[in-house]
Each structure stands twice: as structure tokens, then as C-alpha cells.
Symmetry: C2
Subunit: 353 residues, 2 copies
Amino acid sequence: MTDLENLVAVSLLPPWCWLRAAERLRAGDTAEATLQHLLAAHWRDQPDKASTLHTRAAAAIRRAHEQGIAAVAWSDARYPAALTTIIDPPPVIWVRGAIDALSAHAVAIVGSRAGSPYALAVAERIAADLAARGIVIVSGLARGVDSAAHRGALTCGTTVAVLGSGVDVLYPPEHAPLAREIEHDGAVISELVPGTPPQPWFFPLRNRIISGVSRAVVVVEAGEKSGSLITARCALEQGRDVLAVPGNVLTGRNRGAHALLRDGAKIVESADDILEELQIAVQPRARQAGSDAPAADPILACLTPGEPSDLDAIAERTGLSASRLLPRLLELELQGSVARIGGGRFVRVDSSC
Amino acid sequence: MTDLENLVAVSLLPPWCWLRAAERLRAGDTAEATLQHLLAAHWRDQPDKASTLHTRAAAAIRRAHEQGIAAVAWSDARYPAALTTIIDPPPVIWVRGAIDALSAHAVAIVGSRAGSPYALAVAERIAADLAARGIVIVSGLARGVDSAAHRGALTCGTTVAVLGSGVDVLYPPEHAPLAREIEHDGAVISELVPGTPPQPWFFPLRNRIISGVSRAVVVVEAGEKSGSLITARCALEQGRDVLAVPGNVLTGRNRGAHALLRDGAKIVESADDILEELQIAVQPRARQAGSDAPAADPILACLTPGEPSDLDAIAERTGLSASRLLPRLLELELQGSVARIGGGRFVRVDSSC
């Protein structure tokens, strides 16, 4: 049996075993000894449990391989370093896409599934601005703020989605095309064996991975009982920074985010606030194509190549007034980065950020 | 010469003299000795300055008296106690309305002159909720947030306006009717001798009085260079609490308020946050008529007697959803506090808060 098979077998045990498994692995036990210990402690009355688990683990690894899903064990050099520092790291993570996306500086952006237009615009803009500076954006592929963050990041850089199901069981199903875009330069990951359907109890567990692979968690619009507050709590337990975007106080939509601010979370108005807080030295980043990309421009960062936007939309996304935007757009037009098209709309014409 | 005449004469000297005057008065000098000292130090070459000042002071006091304006000198028992604690208290304040409004617990609410609909709604709501609990709301009678705060307070209680001109020279002029409403239970005050026209340099000076008579300053929507930030700085220098309401991060309208939060101002979502921070023990307050008023109800607090509001407006002001509002409105209707009128609108039918 390989280490990987033993660790996949551990991850087939119920979640309450994973913390114990992590403790033993950290103490230096082998994967095999860890599995044996757990079976001896809790499944003494099921002597064939080990062989069942091994059969299932081997089958899962084989199937994943056929589907192009990488199984990255705790003992694997490719396992994200940040995740090894948390108290309950997953024994194995399953990865679709570019596994090295997990070794860059990462910031999680999470928030309401029923995000307001304001929350979606903020999440998308901050994600785009951070991604343009080489930060990987981590989120949960959920509806609302999560997917806005992924989409924002995709306009200029790389993003990672952490699922509450197997990486081959996309939830919500309409995000399957988004997941495929994410995989192109980034990754879709899960600690759950491929084929595992989404279950409500997987999502809070998944949240510790979102914060665990990240340097900081940014909460954008969270009500009083938002799941994002679980991610924020995980982040604090893991020693990550927690930041929150403020918003309207009349709707109740931001009570959770404002409670975080009251408790000492840093206030975020823009990507710069996050970079300053994290003291990450970043540089404008060229695309992997290695093209001679111009420096990141906040207006370009808000435009998706090929997608026309009108002036109001650009003003809302950049926070610049029309009178400040127009001369900048003219400059970008003269540079050839933006084209003016029908209906007073603008479109980005290059593919670098 | 009376103390009052001498102090009015001091207040006719340029503003840079007032701090020196306050220092001498605090040290125990009489009003007359203080005036003589300032004249000897700075107007030695104008031997008739004293008699000119006295003539102007006596005339100002006489004219104010004829107009029903009270002149309250530093040495007067009615002078607001809170104002005596600041480093540069005005030698005299001129008061239209109820001078005892200045002896209650007071909270200042200030913000953008070009307040967004959101800022106006928040200011009005917080002012109404605090006023309903017996807190006097202090502001600057300016357009935007200031006047929204005064109007909110008037629905349920008392408010004080501090002007950057004489109390008989209303600026902006369209706020003259609002000033008359304020005077009914509250007060319109200024340190400037009646007849003084508004000048840009008076407004920053006026801001120290707004914070000086208040226990705390609440900033609602302030851009990066808002005058409200001057009031906040005065408040900090005077040992008052500074609180700020968060808002949209995309418009730039809240940069000043968010900067205050970043620097440690307390975050405000509702009147309760302010009361908690100040640890003011308050009680629902009956109107001066002494009627057997019911306890303050947050929905009633948001309805001006006689002014119909539709459900959406009430929902926005109270922050309650329509589905939560409707049963509450029905209860209030059964109690006889609210009547349902045409067009799905509601109107408050009693006059107590």
C-alpha cells in the first residue's frame, strides 16, 4: 500500500477522525500506522474495515487518475504549505487544474450567497485588482459573492475554488462552466473523495480549507448567520488575518461583516487595503504567455476582454466619476488597450492585465 | 460694565484671541481684566478700541434682547457645562429657543452636505431613535446629513443647531423654517454676535462647539476632505467619543468615515450602538405635554404624525422587511397608534413618541 492509498483510506473515515489523524501524522507516524491506529481505536469490531477501505481508496485513486484529477497527499511535496500549518489539514486533497496555483500568495474572498449588486461588484473588483497583482483568489464556488470573486479574478489572474463535494460533482450545477474556466490557470480542490455529493455538513468543514490555504479572509456582505462568519472564525483560529468590507447599515445584509469590524477585523475599501495589511510585496504580473504586458491599470482590471461595458458600469466598478474616467479611457484608447464601440460602450482589446 | 458686556466685547475681537481669553478666564481673571489684558497686548496703539467695543457690545445685547435672542456668557449659570470643559469655549453663546436643551445628554450627528439618500435615511433614523430616548441631537443646520439629523430628531424629541453665522442670519436660507421648528423645544445657537454673516472660516470654528456640547460625534457619510472630519478631530481633542456609520466603498463618499473606523472610531449601525458605547441610561421619554405616552416603538419613531408613508419607505427607514413589518403595523393599528389610509400607506395618529 502506498502512503497515498493509506491517506485516502483515512479520508474515507468520518470527518471527526481527521483531527486525530492529523495529530498522529504531525507526530511522525506513517500514513499506514495512522490508519491502523484509528481502525484499532474505533472499528475494532469490524476486522474487514481495513481491506474495504483499501479497496475503495485504490478504486478512487484509479478513477480520479482517469478523470485527470490529482490526488495530493499530506506527504506529497505538492501539498500546499499553508495547509500544513492548520490544526486539521485534510489527509488528501483532490485537485482539478493547476496544482501549483496553491503555492502562490492567496487571499480568500467570501460572502453572501444572495449577494446584493453592491456586494457582487465589490467582490469582483477587489478580486480583479488582487489577481492583477499576482495574488491567487480563493473562494467556495457558491452563488453570489463567491462566484463574483472567482469571475473577477479570472479577468486578470488565477483563482482557486474549494468545494463542499467531490471535485467532479459541481454544486451549484450552473457553475460547471465557471469551474472549467477556473481550472485553466487555477484549481478546483476538495478534501472529499471524487463522487462525494454535496451535503450541508461538508460546507462548514470546507471553510477551514478556504481560510487554511489563504493568507487572509476578506468578508464581503455577511448577515448575522452567514456561513462566511464560520470561514472568518476558522481564519482567526488558524492565525490568518480577517478583513471585512463595510456596507449599508439599513438592510441588515452587513450585520455579520460589521460585527467582525467591531471585533477588530480590518476595514477594506480596496485591494490596496488588503495588500497593505498583509505587507505582501507584489508587482504587476504578466500573463503566463510571457507577453510584454503593460502595468496593471485599475480601469483595465475592471474590463473583461471582449465584454463591452458602458460608462456607468465602469464608473461603478472603478469608483471613478465619469468626468475622471473619460480622459483615462481616451488614453487607454490611444494606447490600443481599449476600443470605443457602439452605444457609448468600451471594450478591452488585449488579453493581458 | 457688566460681565456680559465685557465678554461680548471679547467675542467681538478676532477668533485667534478667544483661546487666550479662555485661558485667562479659567485662571480666574474677571471678564473686564481679560478684555483689558487682550487690548493692552494687541491694541495698545488704539486707545479708543475699548470704548468702541463696549458701544458695539451694548448695542448687540440690546438688539438681541429685542429679537428674543438670549446672550449667555461664560460666567452665566445657564452656560452649557459640557462647553466649559473644552480648551477654547466661546466667551458668549447666543441662543434662540430653549436654552435648557443644552443641559441634556447630547450626541452630534454630522456628515456630507451632498448626502446620498442612504446617508439622509441613516441620519434621520438614528437621530429619531436617539431623540425618542431623550438624547438631544446636535448638528450644524447644513444641507444634507445635518438637516436630516435635525428633522429626524424633531419627529420624536429635541435638537440643537450650531451656526457658522449669527443666529438671526440663517444659512442656507431655505432652512429658516427648520430653524423655527428647532427653536420650539430645542435651540439654535452661535458664538457669533447676531447679525454676523456666514463666512467660510467660521464653519471649522463652529465645529468645535458642535462636538463641545456633545458627548459623542457620529459621522454619517464623509468623503476624504469632509468638514465632518474637522468635527471628529475636535471631538477627539475634547475627549469626546467619535463613531462612524459605514457605507458603500465604491462611491468614495465614505472614505472619511471609513478612515475614522480604521483609526479606531466605533462602528454604528443603529442608535443602540451609540447608547451602548456611551453607557447612557435612557428611558422612553414622554413629550413635554405630559401625555401618557406609550413606550417608544421603532416603527412609530420612523413615522412623522400626519405624514403618510408607504410600506417601502417604512421598510427602508426601519430596516425591517415587509413580511416582518406588516404584522407589527397591524398591531399598531389595533392599538390606535397607526391608521391605514389610501394607496397602501400608513400614518401615525398620535403625537407622542
